[in-house]
Symmetry: C2
Amino acid sequence: MPKVVLATRNAHKVPEISRILAGAGVPVDLVAVTEFPGVDDVEETGLTFAENALLKARAVAAATGLPALADDSGLAIDALGGMPGVFSARWAGVHGDDGANLRLVLAQLTSVPDDHRQAAFVCVAALALPDGTAWTEEGRVDGVVVRAPRGTNGFGYDPIFVPDGSALTTAELSPDEKDAISHRGRAFRAIAPHLAALPGA
Amino acid sequence: MPKVVLATRNAHKVPEISRILAGAGVPVDLVAVTEFPGVDDVEETGLTFAENALLKARAVAAATGLPALADDSGLAIDALGGMPGVFSARWAGVHGDDGANLRLVLAQLTSVPDDHRQAAFVCVAALALPDGTAWTEEGRVDGVVVRAPRGTNGFGYDPIFVPDGSALTTAELSPDEKDAISHRGRAFRAIAPHLAALPGA
């Protein structure tokens, strides 16, 4: 099993992504970047999910000398020109205030008619090697933004997003149901073949 | 001089747009829609400036039986996918809170590097006749969004927008200097020939 660093400070992502990759037939020894104390955070200055995922994966691969995985994801709303997009976690101006972000999106969309509320959860996964070689893969779930939050599972914009073909918001789906259609799952399943081709895999 | 209704509740726009049209050699007898008490506001449900300007002009022309002018305008920021765009006046969630809108845009752009802060003030002017015939014309001023407000003239996003070729924000320009490059001036000067072709002009 190749040792791969996951470029995230978010501890719950390590088991989630390990599970996704194992499910894709590519088990890896995934370690969080937090286990490398000298490695600092990279500022996410990119204007696309791919730019930010690459920034993080390349910086961590260079700093650790190991292959590195990273992702960037968010909600892209058609009526908002694809926003909040890369700004999803800090849409209301402060990083990580899920409630404020969600309320702001609903307020901005107040006048947007029901038939123009299409959106997608998008995730780009990046794999980078210490020499700078890198790959990206995108996963997405299409759906619509509803007018009021429903459900208590998940996080972020889950309570206001209804995937196409579902009557429930992603916050009303069970974790297993959500995983099955997840944009993150799709992106990391798509990156798995690149991992499988690494030396030692 | 043809009598034309201006579809706005904003009283200061009547002399401004009368002046622009007279300067373009097309004097019109411009009256505010507020002088027609039975005519209600139209909800701006459009997703583009042109859609909203047309919605307003067509509704007022139909309700008054006179040619009607309307405009919709806003700040389109490249890094925000063209937003706040049609949502410029209510970006922070409440209509017309200029300070909150401006602070939110600055917070959203915090991590966006100086060489990726391009934006444009855009205005679309619409002229509609009672029979539904309509024209639209766009005016724009390109520039960049700076990191802190400067200047006290103007309103809205003027304190954070520096037009290309200027060192000053549009809130640091005099009203005359701003008018000379204004997106609204450009849009209404472009609509003037359509007014000049009206019966009675």
